[in-house]
C-alpha cells in the first residue's frame, strides 16, 4: 500500500495549466525528492498533499490524491485531520513571532491540547527529534527570531513534528541556509526516515542524491521521469532528465 498516491492529477491556476496528468506513488518510510527547474510545478505538486493550494483563489484540481488510500479531496474530508497527519516545512525558515517553546507548542495548542505536562514533554521530545534541543535548551523562552537561520529551520521541523504527523513535506528546506546548516538538515532527514514518510523538493542535485530513495523529475508541469534515485542519477531513461542532472540546462 502506497502512503501517498496521485492519479492523473491536473491543476490549473485560472487558465494556467500548472500540473499535467501527474501519477506517482510514494511508499511509507521513504524519502522522495522532487527535482526540476524553477517554475516547473514542484511546490504546487507538494502542496497538494496537505491541501495548501485550497487557499489560493481560482485553483482547479482534477484527478485523485490519496493519502493512506483515502481521497483527500473528497467532500466532507476534515482538512484539520489531514494537516495533522501531513506536516510541512517551508522554503525559508518561518517561525512565528513567539518564543522557541511556543513555536513548537503552537500545533498542540491550536488542536485543543491544554495539558501542560503533555505540551512540555512533546516540545522537548520534538526539539530533540529535530536535533535542536542541545542548542536551545537555555533559550526556550527567548524569541525564535534570535536563533540562527539553520536553527530556525530545525525549529520549524520540530514544530511540524510536534503534532506527530506521519508524512513530512519539505519545500526546499535548505535553500536559504549555509552549507553547515544544510548538512545538519540532511542528516536530520536521514534520521527521520524511519518514523516518517518524507517528500522533499530540492533544486540541488547532490542533495537529492544524498537524501532520497526515489526521485521525480518535473518539467513544465509534467512528471518526466520517476524512479529509484540511484537509477535516475546513473541511468536516466529520458534525455531531458539526463540533461538536467548533468547541468546542461536548468
Amino acid at each position: 500500500m502506497a502512503k501517498i498516491e496521485t492519479r492523473d492529477v491536473n491543476l490549473y491556476y485560472g487558465d494556467f495549466h500548472a500540473l499535467k496528468d501527474i501519477s506517482m506513488k510514494m511508499e511509507e518510510n521513504t524519502v522522495t525528492a522532487l527535482i526540476g527547474p524553477s517554475g516547473c510545478g514542484k511546490s504546487t505538486y507538494l502542496r497538494l498533499f496537505n491541501r495548501m493550494n485550497d487557499l489560493i483563489d481560482n485553483v482547479k484540481i482534477e484527478g485523485e490524491v490519496l493519502v493512506d488510500d483515502e481521497d483527500i479531496y473528497r467532500k466532507g474530508l476534515n482538512v484539520d485531520e489531514l494537516r495533522i497527519k501531513v506536516g510541512m516545512v517551508f522554503q525559508k525558515p518561518n517561525p512565528f513571532p513567539k518564543s522557541v517553546f511556543e513555536n513548537v507548542a503552537y500545533g498542540l495548542r491550536v488542536n485543543g491540547i491544554k495539558d501542560k505536562h503533555v505540551i512540555e514533554e512533546t516540545v522537548v521530545s520534538s526539539l530533540k527529534h529535530a536535533a535542536l534541543w542541545d542548542e536551545v535548551r537555555d533559550k526556550l523562552h527567548k524569541s525564535a527570531f534570535e536563533l540562527s537561520g539553520g536553527q530556525q529551520q530545525r525549529l520549524c521541523i520540530a514544530r511540524a513534528l510536534a503534532i506527530s504527523p506521519s508524512i513530512v513535506l519539505m519545500d526546499e528546506p535548505a535553500s536559504a541556509l549555509d552549507p553547515i546548516s544544510t548538512a545538519k538538515i540532511e542528516e536530520l532527514i536521514h534520521d527521520l526516515k524511519k518514523d516518517y514518510t518524507i517528500v522533499i523538493v530540492t533544486h540541488n542535485m547532490q542533495q537529492a542524491g544524498r537524501v532520497s530513495d526515489f526521485t521525480g523529475f518535473f518539467y513544465m508541469g509534467e512528471l518526466i521521469e520517476f524512479g529509484r534515485t540511484v537509477d535516475i542519477f546513473t541511468s536516466p531513461k529520458k534525455h531531458q532528465t539526463e540533461n538536467y542532472i548533468t547541468g546542461r540546462f536548468g
Binding site: 496537505n50 495548501m52 487557499l55 483563489d57 484539520d80 485531520e81 494537516r83 495533522i84 506536516g87 510541512m88 517551508f90 522554503q91 525559508k92 518561518n94 512565528f96 513571532p97 513567539k98 503552537y106 500545533g107 495548542r109 491550536v110 488542536n111 524569541s143 527570531f145 520549524c156 514544530r159 511540524a160 503534532i163
Partner: protein, 400 residues
C-alpha cells in the same frame, strides 16, 4: 552657446523652486506654531477683569484680595455675605456703574454725570458691605475705598480650573479642565465602539473576504471617510439626537453619547484602513505555517496575524483617537456644548474644537477671550502632535 547657458540657468532656477517647495510643510507647521502661540501667548498674566474696569470695596473690609472664582460667586449672588468667603459678617452689596443712579439724585450726579467720581467715592465710603465694579477712570487719587488687586490668568488655574465662563462679568473664568476632559471623554467613547467594530471589518477585509468582495467594500469604506463632517453632524442632529432623547427619556438628546457615536463612525475608515494595511503585512509563509499545523483560519488570525500586526493596529487606534479629538463640526452639532465636567455619556458635553468654533466668532480680536481660544488651539495642537509622535514611535517599533 548663450542659449545653452540660459537653459542651464533656467533649469537651476526650477530646481531651486522644487527644493524650496520641499520645505513647505515644515514651514507651514512652524508658522502654525508661531502664530498660535503668538496670539495666545499674552493670555497668561493678563487680568481677567474687563479692560479698564476695577473692583473696589469699603476700606474697613478685611479682605485685601478676592479670588476670581469668588468674585463670580458674588456677582452671581451665590455668595451674599462676606463671611462666606472669609470676611466679616456683613451682607454684600453689589454696585455696578448702572446701579449708581439708584443711590443718588440726578442733581447730585450732574446733568452729564460729571459728578460720578465723587458719588462713587462717597458710596464706597458709606456702605461697609459694598463691592464696586466701575470703570477705572472714576477712581481718583482721593478715593477712600480699597481697590482690589486684579486677578491674573495663571497657567495652573487655566489647566486645572473647572469653570469656563469666558464672557462672565466682571471676572471671566478660563478653566479648561472640563473642555479637555470633555474632549477626551467623547473621544474615548468613540473609540470604545469604533475600535472593535473597525478591527472586525479590517480582519474581514484582510483575511476573510475574497478579493471580489474586498474590491467592492474598500471604495465604500473610502466613501465613508469622504463624507464631510458637517453632514455627519447634520445626520446626528436630525436622526441620532432625537433617537437618544426618546430611548433614554432625556430632557435633551444632545449628549456625549451622540457625539461618541458620530465620532466613532467618522473614525471607522481611519481605523479600518490602517489596521487592514498592517494585517496585510503578515508574511504569507507565516500564515501558511499555521494552517499547515492544523490551525483554522480564525486561529491563525488571532494567534498569528493580530500579534504580528499589533503595532499597526495600535497605530490605527491612536490615529482614530486623534481623528476624534480634532473633529469639530460634528461634535459641535450633536453634543450640546455644555462646559461642565463629564460624569456620564448621557449629559451634554463640550469639547475644545467645538468651543473654538462656537466662540471665536464673537470674541474681539486681541481680547482676552480671543487669546484664550488660541491657547485652546495650542492645547489641541500639542495633543495631536503627541498623538502623531506616538504613532511614529509605535510604528517604528515594529515588533521582533
Amino acid at each position: 552657446m548663450n542659449k545653452k547657458f540660459l537653459n542651464k540657468l533656467f533649469e537651476k532656477l526650477i530646481e531651486g523652486v522644487i527644493t524650496l517647495s520641499g520645505g513647505i510643510t515644515s514651514l507651514a507647521v512652524i508658522l502654525i506654531v508661531i502664530f498660535l502661540f503668538k496670539e495666545g501667548f499674552g493670555l497668561f498674566g493678563r487680568s481677567t477683569l474687563q479692560d479698564d474696569m476695577v473692583l473696589a470695596v469699603n476700606k474697613s473690609n478685611p479682605l485685601s484680595r478676592i479670588k476670581a472664582a469668588n468674585v463670580k460667586a458674588i456677582f452671581d449672588q451665590d455668595v451674599t455675605n462676606w463671611k462666606q468667603i472669609g470676611g466679616k459678617n456683613d451682607s454684600i452689596i453689589i454696585v455696578r456703574i448702572e446701579d449708581i443712579p439708584n443711590y443718588f439724585k440726578e442733581s447730585q450726579l450732574g446733568a452729564n454725570f460729571e459728578n460720578l467720581a465723587p458719588c462713587i467715592n462717597h458710596l464706597t465710603d458709606s456702605l461697609s458691605g459694598v463691592i464696586l465694579f466701575v470703570p477705572k477712570k472714576y477712581i481718583t487719587s482721593s478715593f477712600k475705598g480699597k481697590v482690589l488687586p486684579e486677578e491674573k490668568v495663571g497657567l495652573v488655574d487655566f489647566f486645572t480650573g473647572k469653570e469656563w465662563y469666558p464672557t462672565a462679568v466682571p471676572d471671566s473664568r478660563f478653566g479648561v479642565l472640563p473642555l479637555i476632559l470633555g474632549t477626551l471623554w467623547v473621544s474615548f467613547g468613540a473609540i470604545l465602539f469604533a475600535l472593535p467594530l473597525g478591527l472586525a471589518v479590517a480582519i474581514y477585509l484582510a483575511e476573510i473576504a475574497d478579493s471580489r468582495i474586498r474590491r467592492m467594500l474598500k471604495p465604500l469604506i473610502e466613501l465613508l471617510s469622504g463624507i464631510p463632517s458637517v453632514i455627519y453632524g447634520f445626520f446626528g442632529l436630525v436622526v441620532l439626537v432625537p433617537l437618544i432623547q426618546s430611548i433614554f427619556n432625556l430632557p435633551v438628546g444632545e449628549t456625549a453619547l451622540a457625539g461618541s457615536i458620530i465620532l466613532g463612525i467618522m473614525a471607522l475608515p481611519t481605523i479600518i484602513t490602517i489596521a487592514e494595511d498592517a494585517m496585510r503585512t503578515t508574511p504569507r509563509a507565516m500564515k501558511e505555517a499555521s494552517l499547515a499545523l492544523g490551525a483554522t483560519r480564525w486561529q491563525t488570525i488571532y494567534r498569528i496575524v493580530i500579534p504580528y500586526s499589533i503595532s499597526g493596529i495600535t497605530a490605527a487606534a491612536i490615529l482614530g483617537i486623534g481623528r476624534a479629538i480634532g473633529e469639530t463640526m460634528a461634535v459641535l452639532m450633536v453634543t450640546g456644548n455644555a462646559g461642565v465636567m463629564p460624569h456620564t455619556f448621557l449629559q451634554p458635553i463640550r469639547t475644545i474644537p467645538a468651543t473654538i468654533a462656537a466662540e471665536l466668532g464673537e470674541s474681539a480680536q486681541g481680547g482676552i477671550h480671543y487669546q484664550a481660544l488660541f491657547v485652546l488651539g495650542c492645547v489641541l495642537f500639542v495633543l495631536t502632535l503627541l498623538i502623531n509622535l506616538g504613532v511614529e514611535y509605535v510604528s517604528s517599533k515594529r515588533k521582533i
